[in-house]
């Protein structure tokens, strides 16, 4: 009898732990969310998404959100996607290009709403059961403003070769710089150790692409650049005021709102293929005068006029 009781107890305990760890199977609708990286830009987008979705359902249906914030690397993105497919969620929402591609790669039947995707028209997301929204920031404007702040012989570009959107941004900026006879210095971030490249390479200014890896270590990057007295511009907002000189970005809340609208429609029965994708182009530009003073840069007043916000 005792010999039977022990395995039974083990099975019961295992079942209890599995049920406790697993998502609520009695929820009305379950949405799986994957952030390409646990960075403030996607965090803000998700916050808006949840708020808007709750407003839309207004308690009419119980919504459970399973949030995955993997470390930015291909295996983790893939694992996160597989986990949500295994949970058989009703819908998957992704922030950033690598997470969206990881879900599409798994070829599951679950509808996908991508958001936070850079230039969605230029990447392979036009597949069945997929819709979403993304953004475009004119990188030429970033280069134009940087040129007005400082003479540029060499432009450093921080990107991550494992992040598809970051690579496209690198390529665009490299091309723009090349057209204007500006040399570029490639800084590929795959691990924290790669930040040391910033110490050895020489450049006049730095552009930071929308890489999640780079943004995980943004404070460290800015700290190294500060020591070298090199100004940096970013395609994501500097919400934590790390010390970037300028940012030109698409506000995250508009994409979060649209993702919520799309998710709501799909959960009510609309096919993703019947929902039109959208690219947001409105941008905000922030100049950090504190950082400019710190770097000894005399900011032209004509540039300040163009800013949406100035940090003083």
């Amino acid at each position: 009898m005792n010999s039977l009781r022990r395995p039974l107890l083990k099975i019961l305990l295992s079942a209890f732990f599995i049920l406790a760890a697993a998502p609520n199977l009695h929820a009305g609708k379950r949405i799986g969310v994957i952030m390409t990286g646990d960075i403030p830009y996607y965090g803000a987008m998700h916050e808006t998404f949840v708020t808007e979705l709750n407003k839309k359902f207004a308690g009419a249906e119980e919504i459970e959100i399973i949030l995955q914030r993997p470390f930015p690397d291909p295996i983790s993105w893939s694992n996160a996607a597989r986990k949500l497919i295994a949970f058989d969620v009703d819908l998957i929402v992704t922030y950033g290009s690598p997470a969206a591609h990881a879900v599409i790669h798994e070829k599951g039947r679950i509808p996908l709403v991508y958001t936070g995707l850079y230039e969605p028209d230029n990447t392979a997301v036009k597949v069945k059961n997929v819709t979403g929204c993304g953004f475009k920031v004119p990188l030429s404007s970033i280069l134009r403003y940087l040129k007005r702040i400082k003479t540029i012989d060499t432009l450093g570009i921080i990107f991550s070769s494992i992040e598809e959107d970051s690579v496209r941004q690198y390529e665009t900026m490299h091309l723009l710089a090349d057209q204007q006879n500006i040399k570029t210095e490639k800084i590929d971030i795959l691990s924290r150790a790669d930040l040391d490249k910033l110490k050895t390479k020489e450049f006049d200014v730095v552009f930071i692409t929308g890489s999640s890896l780079a943004h995980l270590w943004l404070d460290d990057i800015v700290s190294i650049l500060d020591e070298k007295r090199v100004p940096a511009a970013d395609i994501f907002p500097d919400d934590l005021e790390s010390g970037l000189l300028m940012t030109l970005y698409q506000p995250s809340h508009t994409q979060g709102e649209m993702a919520a609208e799309m998710a709501w429609q799909i959960l009510l029965g609309t096919k993703p293929s019947d929902i039109t994708t959208h690219t947001f182009r409105e941008t905000e530009m922030v100049f950090n005068l504190v950082e400019a003073r710190h770097l000894g840069i005399n900011f032209p007043i004509q540039l300040l006029i163009e800013a949406t916000r100035v940090i003083e």
């Binding site: 920031v137 004119p138 030429s140 404007s141 057209q179 204007q180 182009r281 409105e282 163009e306 949406t308």
Partner: protein, 304 residues
């Protein structure tokens, strides 16, 4: 008694003769209804960089002071577009005005257009451009619906009046419902930057600023596309109030028109970034007035 009376009579007669001579003298003297100012105060509409603008105009004012023998002073009007108000409150004698404000000032303040500066490209006119980013997907008027548009200022011909006339020609009378959002950038340069940066889908600005920016940075032409152009109108006009003596107005016009004939004048023109001045004509502003009537007849009246 008789003697006194005769003397008094002669005295009265002489007085009357004197009075008549004085009256006659006064009658044949011309009555001067015009002002003979001790100094002239000229207003300037603020541009993108007012420091640079003041620098450019300062030498011109000094040159005119020497040529006319009257101190010519400059003042920047506080805000682009408040010309009609500011002209009176600042007690200006004249102003360098942009096309729409010059039209309004000629009509409502009876200012006289005197000269136009000819820019370094040999033009004294500008056009209004409506432009978009090439990657915006906007190719025509129909594609503009639901987008964002940036205007320059309600008192700008190129940056507001022309796009409003363009919209009116296409049957749009309510820009609030046609566009998602519209806003004013305050300068032509800022309107162009707003579209370049993606802060607006559609922009309106003057050709001279647009062309100067693209000459300076040709990469802009790879990004922007002009989808509509206005007729050419005088870009800047020096207007003087009608109370200024015609002779002084004429001397000022001549001093400016002949600037490119003297070394000092050439030097001043170089600083002013112009190659010469040409005489202005009221007829040049009829087209703007017609555009204003067409464009703003159905919309709110702006720009005063």
């Amino acid at each position: 008694m008789m003697q006194l009376s005769q003397s008094a009579h002669i005295l009265v007669r002489n007085l009357l003769v004197c009075l008549l001579i004085c009256s006659a003298s006064l009658a044949i003297m011309p009555v001067n209804a015009f002002e003979q100012p001790q100094e002239l105060l000229i207003g300037i509409e603020p541009e993108h960089n007012i420091f640079d603008q003041m620098e450019r105009y300062r030498d011109l004012a000094d040159y005119l002071s020497v040529q006319l023998g009257i101190k010519v002073k400059l003042t920047i009007m506080s805000r682009y577009g408040e010309v009609l108000k500011r002209f009176k409150t600042l007690k200006l004698d004249g102003a360098f005005l942009t096309p729409y404000t010059a039209t309004m000032a000629i009509k409502e303040l009876q200012l006289e257009p005197v000269v136009y500066p000819v820019n370094l490209n040999g033009e004294y006119t500008s056009e209004g451009y409506i432009f978009v980013r090439k990657d915006s997907g906007i190719r025509s008027f129909q594609d503009m619906k639901g987008g964002n548009i940036v205007f320059v200022d309600p008192a700008s011909m190129e940056g507001y009046l022309f796009p409003m006339a363009f919209l009116h020609q296409h049957g749009i009378t309510d820009i609030d419902s046609f566009f998602n959002r519209y806003f004013f950038s305050g300068s032509h340069t800022s309107a162009i930057f707003a579209v370049l940066d993606g802060r607006s889908d559609i922009g309106a600005a003057k050709s001279t600023t647009f062309n100067a920016m693209t000459n300076n940075d040709p990469s802009i032409l790879q990004e922007l596309e002009i989808i509509a152009r206005s007729p050419k109108v005088p870009e800047f006009t020096l207007c003087l109030k009608s109370e200024i003596e015609p002779d002084l107005r004429e001397r000022m016009a001549n001093a400016l028109v002949l600037m490119d004939k003297t070394p000092d004048g050439m030097k001043t023109l170089q600083q002013f970034r112009a190659i010469s001045f040409v005489k202005a004509s009221k007829e040049d502003f009829v087209i703007i007035e017609n555009m204003a009537q067409e464009a703003l007849g159905s919309f709110m009246i702006h720009g005063k």
